[in-house]
Subunit: 409 residues, 2 copies
């Protein structure tokens, strides 16, 4: 018997028909000899319905009670799915987060999982039951209901898989896997058979919203084999692997190209230079809960420095106001901004053992007459900021230049 965790999101269990389809799917796997734990989200629309109810009562509902409220969403799904399985003659049991002791910290609405008591789950599996667990929810050490935040069901699935040492954790989504880049921009984009967790984390944080970042971090930490599949069509999906399992000499140079529109760039120029300039400028930005992404400080010249950084485009106006205030306070020269920029990143663990990736990237962009405004790198990623109007050309050119349209080893 192979021990498997499968996770279905809100759309996959969004109606009685969909729940029945999931039950049919599970029974097929179960009869093929898999021991199954299923993690499910609230039926699509349900969480929003509950949040709307709360907002009719409070502008800012208290977080503890919000968690009590929204956690009912998954509880409804686990009961209905367990019923659908039993209706088909298969033994099944549903559990809330609290019932299988998904212990979290006390941060309501964004709790982190600390541990899971797997005894009940393993006992049920041994009796031949399919175990249905509510995603997204847990309890803290005071027995209060907590939730993991939106998308937290992925994390629940991975945490359960780690706790019971499952052979694989399968996340069913509305896409059939991870692609080399967005197929809407590059029609030649190809589904990857596998990708390392490290690459996945770089891609996820760059806007490939297939898996919740935290679930990949969790999977990475506990080395849980994670597979992303479509809940609507058959297929192998994409398997997320771990660096230590891969001979990185054989890994493809680049696994994928991520990009993000809706970025904006701001520069405050001619700041009298002294230690702590970056903090003085970025402190007020961060206090306004604006996430700064790429940062560039020009080498100081004649005692003055320029600081450039990018923010989400929605925060552009607010950032501009803060900088304009700072110009006076810091006796700086002026502020410039551009809210028509985009970010492109090439990601691949192969970079570690191959030189020349940056060179290929820069040459490809130059050949296509695309100006690089900012550069940022990590061990397995190179990001550039370019004019938004050049985004599609750039992604298509880089996809071809790195041979991503061709099946690799």
């Amino acid at each position: 018997m192979t021990l498997i965790v499968e996770k279905f999101g809100g759309t996959s269990v969004g109606s009685v028909e969909r729940i029945n389809a999931v039950a049919d799917h599970l029974i097929e796997k179960h009869q093929a000899g898999e021991q199954l734990v299923v993690v499910v989200s609230a039926m699509s629309g349900e969480t929003n319905r509950l949040i709307k109810l709360a907002h009719e009562i409070c502008a800012k509902p208290p977080a503890r009670e919000m968690d009590v409220l929204v956690s009912t969403g998954e509880q409804v799904t686990i009961a209905l799915l367990a019923m659908a399985l039993q209706q088909r003659g298969t033994q099944a049991r549903s559990y809330t987060g609290g019932q299988v002791s998904i212990k979290t910290d006390r941060v309501h609405s964004k709790a982190r999982i600390l541990g899971i008591d797997s005894a009940k789950i393993l006992e049920d599996l041994a009796l031949g039951r399919i175990v249905v667990v509510a995603g997204f929810q847990g309890i803290d050490d005071g027995g209060n209901i907590t939730t993991l935040g939106r998308g937290g069901s992925d994390t629940t699935a991975v945490a359960v898989a780690a706790a019971i040492n499952a052979a694989e954790c399968r996340i069913y989504t509305d896409v059939d896997g991870i692609y080399t880049t967005d197929p809407r921009v590059v029609p030649e984009a190809r589904r990857l058979k596998s990708i390392t967790a490290e690459e996945m984390l770089e891609l996820a944080s760059l806007g490939a919203k297939v898996l919740q970042t935290r679930s990949v971090e969790f999977a990475n930490k506990y080395r849980v084999p994670l597979r992303v599949l479509s809940s609507f069509e058959k297929g192998e999906g994409t398997l997320i692997t771990y660096d230590d399992e891969t001979n990185s000499m054989e890994a493809p140079l680049i696994s994928g190209i991520a990009f993000q529109r809706d970025e904006a760039k701001l520069t405050i120029r001619g700041i009298p230079d002294h230690p702590g300039v970056a903090h003085t400028v970025l402190g007020p930005i961060s206090e306004s809960h604006i996430n700064v992404d790429v940062i560039l400080q020009n080498a100081s010249e004649k005692g003055f420095t320029d600081l450039t950084f990018t923010v989400p485009r929605g925060d552009y106006e607010a950032s501009l106001e803060i900088l304009q205030r700072l110009v006076g306070e810091l006796n700086a020269q002026d502020v410039k901004g551009d809210d028509k920029i985009a970010k492109i990143s090439v990601v691949g663990v192969g970079m570690r053992s191959h030189s020349g990736v940056a060179n290929t990237m820069f040459k490809t962009l130059a050949d296509n007459d695309i100006n690089i405004q900012m550069i940022s790198t990590s061990e397995i990623k190179i990001s550039v900021i370019i004019d938004e109007s050049k985004l599609e050309t750039a992604v298509q050119a880089l996809h071809a230049a790195f041979g991503l349209d061709k099946e690799s080893g």
Copy 2:
């Protein structure tokens, strides 16, 4: 500080507006110096919505999963009410049945409460919080969610009141108290200031559906002062007291008149008499889950006996079929039936110390030309079966004959 438990049913919390109204009411009581625990039901309509969902998946949903499903109804209400209280600046905390350890037996959908851990509730009360507890639900010794069956929130409220030794348990309903009889039949019917639990139990089992029988039994067992009030208008309601607190010499002779339409009567005649005839006839009825109420076995004559009993009218046809089958098996004479009968009961602890109640009852009915078909008595109750067409006349005449329209001591 006075320790009070208040319970609001589904209609009283059926909308955001109603929940806000309950919050306003509670804060008024809280500011007047009451320490409050509130027990609430699911918003009206919610339980039926969930049951409907389940039935779309299964004809006969498994009871364990049904409890997981429907218990979300109260969980939504406790969260919303706690939010509404906090929105008004009052500290409040919600708890599911499991969270305050409302321990029950394992009988899903009809569980009985075995005990409550009051520590958390008392701790919160000491901190000045209003405690909001989900009615209707508990957990068994395996941590499985159980429900107490329809109307079980009353029982939860009484059990919580008993566990924390509350000064009073107030059940808010859609009526403003217990009446001497149904005011739709007798306009002179009067709200009782108090009634004994014993009388209340006789009335409840006879069709006065204000309080769930089990909650009154529970209140009686633990001597919880129970008050029934309207959630829509102000008033003192009716207080349920206990025999040992009342000098029954001063108690009114009769407290109320209950009646039940929709009864049916069946007689199997000429059964060859031998020990166990009643069992032979009523066994198959009971095995068909039909509740037999009044039973009358005529004195045996020449070795033959007649057995008459009443059943709910909805079970009349099924009972008739069973008896017709038995006529052959038992070699009895024939079966007769009447599905146009009704039952009237006069109830009062005063009967214990006063004679003549039966006599007054029989004389009143005779004076009004009403034929008594069957009689059944208990220590504090006399019931008669009469023709349904005479029901209203009978109730009105008895109400007047026992002086129930006049305020008593």
